[in-house]
C-alpha cells in the first residue's frame, strides 16, 4: 500500500437511481474513507446491492454523482484497478483455481512469474493452495467464495465491495469467509459490505449504514447502532419486525 496514490475518499452526492421513473435509490449522501469495515444493512429490496454497484461504477446513477476524490482517481486505469468487488454468487472463470487468481493480475501487467508467486501466496492465505490446479467450477460453494475473495485480495485494492458474500453459505463456511474478510481489512483495504445477517454485522462492522426503501435511514458506529439505533426503521429491523 505504500507509495501508492490514494483513491479514497469516495463521496456520493445526492445519488439516485431510477428505472422507468420508479425510484430504487434516492437522495443518498455518503462518504467513505480509509478505516474499519462499513457494513450496509437493510431488508431485501432496500437497495443494498444497487448502492454497491453504483459505488463500484458498474451502473451509472440517474441522479447526483459518485466522486472519487483521491489523486488516484485522476487516471481511469487507477480508478478501475484500485477497487474490486466480490459478488453474492461468485463468478469464476472456467479455468483452474490458480488461473482464476492470475487472470486479473495479468490484466494489471504482472509478468508470469510474479503472477504465479502472488496468486499462490494469496491462495495459501485463504486455505486453497492445495486446490490450486483444480478447475474452479468444481469447488464447493464456500471454496468458490474464498477463491473469489482471494482473487480480489491478490489485487490489493484500496477499497473492496462485498455483496452479501456469505448469503448462500453454511455457518462453517461463513466463519471462514468472515475470517478472510477480517484479514483483508487488516491488510489495509477498506471494506464496504452488504449483509442481512446481524450477527455478521456485529462481528465485522466498524460502522453501519442502514438502508430503508432506497434511502439511508442512518449511519452510526457499530456499537451505537446495535445498542441505540437512531431510526425507527433500524429499530424495527433489529427487533425482527417487518419493515417494508
Amino acid at each position: 500500500m505504500h507509495g501508492r496514490l490514494s483513491l479514497l475518499p469516495l463521496q456520493l452526492n445526492d445519488v439516485g437511481y431510477s428505472v422507468n421513473r420508479q425510484r430504487l435509490i434516492g437522495g443518498v449522501n455518503l462518504r467513505f474513507e480509509m478505516g474499519p469495515p462499513t457494513l450496509i444493512l437493510g431488508p431485501n429490496g432496500a437497495g443494498k446491492s444497487l448502492l454497491l454497484r453504483l459505488c463500484h461504477g458498474l451502473i451509472e446513477p440517474t441522479a447526483g454523482d459518485v466522486q472519487w476524490q483521491g489523486p488516484a482517481a485522476q487516471t481511469p486505469q487507477n480508478l478501475r484497478f484500485e477497487q474490486a468487488m466480490v459478488f453474492q454468487k461468485p463468478v469464476l472463470l472456467r479455468r483452474s483455481v490458480l488461473a482464476n487468481v492470475e487472470f486479473p493480475l495479468k490484466l494489471r501487467g504482472l509478468d508470469a512469474a510474479s503472477r504465479r508467486a502472488k496468486a499462490l501466496a494469496v491462495l495459501e492465505r485463504v486455505g486453497l493452495a492445495a486446490l490450486a490446479e483444480r478447475p474452479a467450477r468444481v469447488l464447493s460453494g464456500g471454496e468458490q467464495q474464498r477463491l473469489a475473495l482471494a482473487r480480489a485480495w491478490a489485487l490489493e485494492p484500496q477499497i473492496l465491495f462485498l455483496d452479501e458474500p456469505s448469503a448462500a453459505l453454511d455457518p462453517g463456511a461463513t466463519r471462514q469467509v468472515e475470517g478472510i474478510i477480517g484479514n483483508i481489512a487488516a491488510s489495509g483495504t477498506k471494506i464496504v459490505m452488504t449483509t442481512h445477517d446481524l450477527g455478521q454485522a456485529r462481528r465485522l462492522a466498524g460502522d453501519i449504514i442502514f438502508l430503508h426503501r432506497g434511502s439511508v435511514a442512518e449511519r452510526t458506529p457499530a456499537t451505537e447502532f446495535f445498542n441505540q439505533p437512531q431510526s425507527d426503521a433500524a429499530r424495527a429491523f433489529l427487533q425482527g419486525d417487518l419493515t417494508w
Binding site: 458498474l58 474490486a84 463468478v91 472456467r94 479455468r95 487472470f103 478447475p135
Partner: protein, 235 residues
C-alpha cells in the same frame, strides 16, 4: 435393396483394401474441409463475439443477415466464388479456380456465417454471466473477447462442428469451383455425385457410407473429448 446390400459390401471391401484412389479422395475431402473449418473459425469466432459484445446502429440487421447466411445455397456460393476466381474475376490472378485452394475458399464462405452466428449466441449468453465480474476487473467488452472465447470453448466447439458438418457434406460449391478433376479436386461428395450420374449406384452408395462413417466418427471423437473436458472443468 440389391443396390444397397451390394453397396455395403463394396464399401466394406474398399475400406478393408484401403483402396489408394479412395484414400486420396478421403484425404482431399478432409484436407479441404478441415482447412476451411480452421479458417472459418478464425474469422467466425471473433466476429460472432464482436457482434455479441458491441452495440452499434444496424446491429440487429447485421444479426438477421448473418443468421440468414447460415442457409446460403452452396451452388450459389460456388457460382460467386467461381466468378471471383475466374480469369477475369478480381482474384483471377491467384489461379485458384479448379484447385483445392479455391474449394477451401468456397467452403470458408459457407462455414463462416454458421460459426459466427452460433458463437454470437454462445458468447452473448456467457457475457450475461461474466459481465459484471469482468468489468469489475477492468475489462472492456472488446478486451473481453479473448477471455469469453476461451471460457466458452466447450459450447463454441459445437459451432465449429456445425461448420465442419456443413463443409464435409456439401457438394454444390466445391464441384463448381473445383471442377471434380480426377486425382486433383475430386472429393467424396463430388465423386458420389459423379458416380450417381454415371449410373454406378453401388459405388456411389459405398462412397456415401464411407463419408457417413467418417463424419460420425470425427463427431463422436470430438464430442467425447469435449464432454470429458467439460465435466472435468465443471463447466
Amino acid at each position: 435393396m440389391n443396390t444397397i446390400s451390394e453397396a455395403f459390401l463394396l464399401s466394406l471391401q474398399m475400406m478393408v483394401r484401403l483402396d489408394p484412389e479412395l484414400l486420396r479422395i478421403i484425404g482431399l475431402s478432409l484436407r479441404v474441409s478441415l482447412t476451411a473449418v480452421v479458417l472459418g473459425s478464425l474469422i467466425g469466432l471473433p466476429f460472432g463475439a464482436l457482434l455479441a459484445l458491441t452495440r452499434f446502429p444496424g446491429r440487429n440487421a447485421c444479426i438477421v443477415v448473418l443468421n440468414a447466411c447460415m442457409g446460403l445455397p452452396p451452388v450459389v456460393v460456388g457460382l460467386i466464388v467461381y466468378l471471383i476466381l475466374s480469369r477475369s474475376g478480381p482474384l483471377g490472378t491467384f489461379g485458384w479456380l479448379f484447385t483445392p485452394a479455391g474449394m477451401v475458399m468456397a467452403q470458408v464462405v459457407l462455414i463462416t456465417p454458421i460459426v459466427a452466428a452460433l458463437s454470437r449466441q454462445t458468447v452473448a449468453d456467457l457475457w450475461i454471466e461474466y459481465e459484471e465480474q469482468l468489468r469489475s476487473l477492468g475489462l472492456t467488452p472488446i478486451k473481453a473477447i479473448a477471455t469469453l472465447l476461451w471460457d466458452g470453448r466447450f459450447s463454441l466447439s459445437t459451432a465449429v462442428f456445425a461448420g465442419f458438418g456443413r463443409a464435409i457434406a456439401e457438394v454444390g460449391a466445391i464441384i463448381i469451383v473445383g471442377g471434380n478433376i480426377n486425382g486433383f479436386t475430386r472429393t467424396m461428395t463430388t465423386a458420389i455425385s459423379l458416380e450417381t450420374s454415371r449410373g454406378d449406384l453401388a459405388l456411389a452408395m459405398a462412397l456415401g457410407i464411407v463419408l457417413l462413417a467418417i463424419a460420425i466418427s470425427i463427431n463422436a471423437a470430438a464430442t467425447t473429448l469435449g464432454n470429458t473436458a467439460r465435466r472435468r472443468q465443471g463447466a
